[in-house]
Amino acid sequence: MDPSVGDLNSPHSMGTTIIGVTYNGGVVLGADSRTSTGVYVANRASDKITQLTDNVYVCRSGSAADSQIVSDYVRYFLHQHTIQLGEPATVKVAANLVRLLSYNNKSMLQTGLIIGGWDKYEGGKIYGVPLGGTILEQPFAIGGSGSTYLYGFFDQEWKEGMTKDEAEKLVVKAVSLAIARDGASGGVVRTVIINSDGVTRNFYPGDSLPLWHEELEPQNSLLDILSSSSSEPMVS
């Protein structure tokens, strides 16, 4: 009935960690900032959360070129749509435009996207559009290669009806945990909060993030440790 074509079990994993979370009043989008070409980090401070309209943003993962061109087209179409509609576009329309491009060009594109925003009809909404062009509305979405390390974390920590601060803290903690274990994720954590009051961008540099297992407090130099410490830091 179902012809098998080689190993269907391993889709291409994508560099990045991206997250979108709804809370009571809006959405919080989060991402790391590492763009890699093979093993080299081409950009250590990229901005993967891209604006589509005043009230809708998209988190990009996978091929940088593919995700950029898709967002550019969607921004262009949404702009025209907004003019024709006479009011801000809804998150659902933005997400479906992304889906159309992803689905109809599925053999050529390699990008997973998380669309998040706020509109006056449905409030804060998150839509996931993974590889292949499936569209799924979710209370929270995770994507990118770093997301594999976060399924268990979200299974445990996610709760409905969080406040804005709880949601943002959760997103920052999650991206930071993924960065700790995923080589393709790193740099800073960027968040974008969207609600009825507007949009807020935040920036959490690598040294402001909590330390996890086997990570040490960064120091300026060994010399500082030697001069301040009274014990034996240099052991022969």
Binding site: Y73, K106, S107, M108, P130, Q138, T148
Partner: protein, 240 residues
């Protein structure tokens, strides 16, 4: 609105090859019973070996008389639903008192799947189509290569190997709703034990002359308290 459709004729950048699936649903089972059709599917959509999404509805009503259940690539299923929506809309616009029955919808799906297969660009799904019209029960299946048939019980994917033997043994004409549900649950439980891509959250849908109902999502109890499971390697350490 088709934007840069790769299956457009004249688009020289379209690639003529079979794709591979990314986000996939597993088995769907359908049976005929006394009043109509019962269909069951879990709510999981996997991404390779990861059980990524756990609240995906894979059984949906089509018009007044049919139910469709799908396994395989979810994006292709969503596209099929849109095509069916358009089909039903045009049917309603005729406003002639006639409405498409399950046999017609099944045929439409067969043509859609087979024609895509001929272009080496399949919709990567196995579909179960069930319905009742004018007292006639109908249950059929279409695969991604256009193989189609009707039967008293059908299944997709793993369901063919695990559920159909049970159905061949225990299905009979004029099952009550209760017996039908119990039979489907028996099959779904086996799939939960033995299909790696199954998740424990399912919906059972029924369609009768009166209409369609899809149950709320629920989970099945599982049984692990067999003596043989307690200490399976006693006397043979290292075995499993």
């Amino acid at each position: 609105m088709k934007l840069l459709d790769s299956t457009d004729s004249g688009n020289s950048s379209s690639i003529e090859r079979t794709q591979y699936p990314y986000v996939t649903g597993t088995s769907v089972i359908g049976i005929k019973y006394k009043d109509g059709i019962l269909m069951a599917a879990d709510m999981g959509a996997s991404y390779g070996s990861t059980l990524r999404y756990k609240s995906v509805e894979r059984v949906k009503p089509v018009g007044k008389h049919s139910l469709i259940g799908a396994s395989g690539e979810i994006s292709d299923f969503q596209e099929i639903l849109r095509s069916l929506d358009e089909l039903i809309l045009y049917d309603n616009m005729w406003d002639d008192g006639n409405s498409l029955g399950p046999k017609e919808v099944h045929n439409y799906l067969t043509r859609m799947m087979y024609n895509r297969r001929n272009k080496f660009d399949p919709l990567w799904n196995s579909l179960v189509l069930g319905g009742v019209k004018n007292g006639q029960k109908y249950l059929g299946m279409v695969s991604m290569i256009g193989v189609h048939f009707e039967d008293n019980h059908v299944a997709t994917g793993f369901g063919n190997h695990l559920a159909r033997p049970i159905l061949r043994d225990e299905w009979h004409e004029n099952l009550t709703f209760e017996d039908g549900v119990k039979l489907l649950e028996k099959c779904m439980r086996v799939l939960l034990y033995r299909d790696r891509s199954a998740v424990n959250k399912l919906q059972i849908a029924k369609i009768t002359e009166e209409g369609v109902t899809v149950s709320q999502p629920y989970a099945l109890k599982t049984f692990w308290n067999f003596n043989a499971f307690q200490n399976p390697t006693v006397g043979a350490e290292g075995s499993w």
